[in-house]
């Protein structure tokens, strides 16, 4: 996964373009195996035929004047398609029906900085709750949609426990796809409604999330699932690239500068690895200055396989059985775990975890300082940031960007007990005076 090897792959990938001439995914030139480097033509495949390693998109990225490219991006739409020249999408992507996520707020969080002991002007929250279905999943699904279009799929599918189901349902509806989403049968009512309102088929599976995933894997290999685009399986290489847009936006919003430190949540680990990939691309393209940056991964203690491996100095990740309120991060066997470990170590970062109590505290701290109501995953990143500043691993005088990847409205239960009315009174001034809330 070193820089040298990736560069090698990119140039190899260019040679395979000819075999994929019917598929127009813009600068995407092929799929390369992250393990053995083998290159394949663009298609709905996700594992290397030779070594079963994960495939990722290789590019024939624009060369030439970085200033011209920067101007082109800045003149683009206020969504991820401003970066179309760097994504596996056709050049006219912005004209097709899509939810057009992205270009979410990068909030300068001076109040939170004060609480965490970070210098003023140095702490930022990238708030992806501003996306159409209020999570970063809209970014990745938007890419999967374009790949599905290119490959001629008409049904979009996924397994999900929440955010992804809503993102797929919504995007499929607008883009004109049928959707069929698989969920565990005991999902919370609110999440079922959020997934069901978009009108696609919603299949509840008698079993837990692992059972749902196993079933989906069977379905992909069966004629029953033929011609279906599973956004997080056979479209995964394209899907994953959506996370690069977080890196692009953060740098552009900072004035085309890479932040010194980034705190990123880890579920499968894909988001973190793609953000690193995005930063490397910006450097390669000359859009930002090459400079050191540290990437920190954040997990919940109740599902901390990568954090455990990092602390133990291991290269492999030992699966855990998740038990945490941060359900959107509760992947016990994260596919990209080893890559995350490599990036955290290579950049001088770390992987840390926080317990559920601190997750709740951190959600409230963010809400009460910046008015941002984050999902549990946002509580994890803010909580981990607090811990890393206290431990001296995050430098409070350097620029830090913390990701909030989802919306608190989706995980209300986490803070319900502790976010109640201060007092209940009769509608009288005397009762209000007695409550002691006037100043």
């Amino acid at each position: 996964m070193g820089k040298m090897r990736r560069k090698g792959l990119a140039s190899m990938a260019v040679q395979t373009v000819a075999s994929a001439t019917t598929v127009d995914l813009g600068p995407a030139s092929g799929l390369s195996c992250r393990e053995c480097g083998e290159v394949f033509a663009l298609g709905p495949i996700f594992a290397c035929e030779l070594c079963f390693g994960p495939l990722e998109v290789a590019y024939d990225l624009p060369t030439g004047d970085p200033e011209a490219l920067r101007k082109q991006i800045e003149a683009g739409p206020a969504n991820i398609w401003r970066y179309a020249p760097l994504l596996p999408v056709p050049a006219d992507v912005a004209e097709k029906p899509n939810l057009n996520p992205g270009w979410t707020k990068l909030v300068q969080a001076d109040n939170l900085a004060r609480e965490l002991g970070v210098a003023p002007g140095k702490l930022f929250v990238k708030d992806d709750s501003g996306n159409p279905t209020h999570s970063f999943k809209d970014r990745v699904v938007a890419q999967a949609i374009e790949a599905a279009r290119a490959f001629g799929f008409t049904t979009l599918s996924c397994s999900s426990t929440g955010n992804l189901a809503g993102a797929v349902g919504a995007a499929a509806a607008r883009a004109g796809f049928r959707s069929c989403v698989f969920i565990p049968h005991d999902l919370e009512q609110g999440k079922v409604v959020m997934a069901g309102v978009y009108g696609g088929d919603l299949v509840a599976i008698e079993g837990n999330y692992d059972d749902v995933n196993r079933f989906c894997s069977e379905l992909i290999g069966d004629p029953l699932g033929e011609g279906w685009g599973f956004v997080n399986v056979n479209l995964r290489p394209y899907y994953g690239e959506g996370s690069k847009t977080l890196a692009y936006e953060i740098c552009e919003q900072l004035g085309w500068v890479i932040p010194d430190q980034l705190v990123i949540p880890i579920a499968s680990g894909s988001q973190l690895t793609k953000i690193d990939k995005g930063l490397q691309e910006l450097i390669k393209l000359g859009l930002v200055e090459d400079k050191p940056y540290k990437i920190f991964g954040a997990q919940a203690e109740g599902c901390s396989p990568v954090s455990a491996a990092f602390k133990a100095g291991h290269d492999v990740v030992r699966p855990q059985k998740p038990n945490t309120i941060a359900k959107s991060l509760a992947i016990g066997n994260p596919a990209d775990g080893p890559y995350v470990l490599d990036i955290a170590r290579r950049t001088g970062g770390a992987v840390e975890d926080v317990n559920d109590e601190l997750v709740v505290e951190a959600i409230k701290l963010l809400a009460q300082t910046e008015g941002i109501f984050a999902e549990t995953a946002g509580g994890v990143t803010v909580g981990v940031t607090k811990k890393l500043v206290e431990a001296g691993l995050i430098d409070p005088n350097l620029t830090t960007v913390v990701l909030n990847t989802g919306d608190g409205l989706k995980t209300l239960d986490a803070v319900a007990d502790t976010s109640q009315a201060t007092v209940t009174i009769r509608p009288s001034l005397d009762a209000f005076r007695d409550a002691g809330l006037a100043h």
Copy 2:
């Protein structure tokens, strides 16, 4: 409320600037009574001393080259502060801590258009669920915050049944105000949590929303409430101006063109009247061409006092006792009702209502065609649009903009019964085949 009279007021207002020299609210020159035209200095007042009519902000708007102003706006931030020269805020407003709402998506809704029988490219949804706390209330609260700052208040307050409580709590937290929000004691749990998580005081009043409002009116007149900024009472003239930004954004997003037809929900009616005010300002400033437009008001049948008055040809609005799932629009005695009637009639529009069943259908129609999950208020506007197209009152060949002012996540109950899993099955291919969902 005619154009002539408003122009007269604006020039009168300029003369009062001297008495408000200590208050810098940018182009705001004073407060004028919408009934008798009397002008007052800028301050935390909301009713005319002479006739008790409502006060609204008068401006000393920029004169000169419209092209220069348009360029200045286009170069501004991607939020409401791009319009700072047209709002009652200081010129450096974008540098102060605020939630910076606005610049939400204007979605070209071709799928919905097809379902409603509107020509392709002619129907748009202005989707305010993309605001920081996912409703248009962020726009109005952002204005109130700046007025509160100018008047030296340190506590922000309001009465609310949901959206406003969250918007005030969040904005106060970030902007450094204490907040004290009053809610009915029997509010749904989810809404209490959304209001409580931002850490301000949340006072539950034993009574219904009317009791809460009455209590707040008492509090404002009592020393206990002295120095408090009630966003929707003593800061109301400023607060209301936030809705003008919807007009500005819609026109700019259409390429500085006024849409032919707008469908706007009616609660108090303030939003509709301020959108009309905003459109008139754009014309006066030369930022858009002067052309006819029709404004349509949308209510739920269970709370349709303005619609009833419109249909009966009355100038006054007879209060109703609300009974509808569209709770954010459930104001039985809308303060701006008469002004709404005037605008709908003057522009050649109409006021229409839909029953709760159609509200639910319309929420699902919007979700299933465009991937936008709207609050019940959005179901009201989409449902009313459907009805008005069918009745021939909305021309399907002209441009129509429909407002969605809030997020479906906040009114999940409305669609819960009808947004369930299609089927529940064992995790087996046979079971899936039997379900008949494969193609």
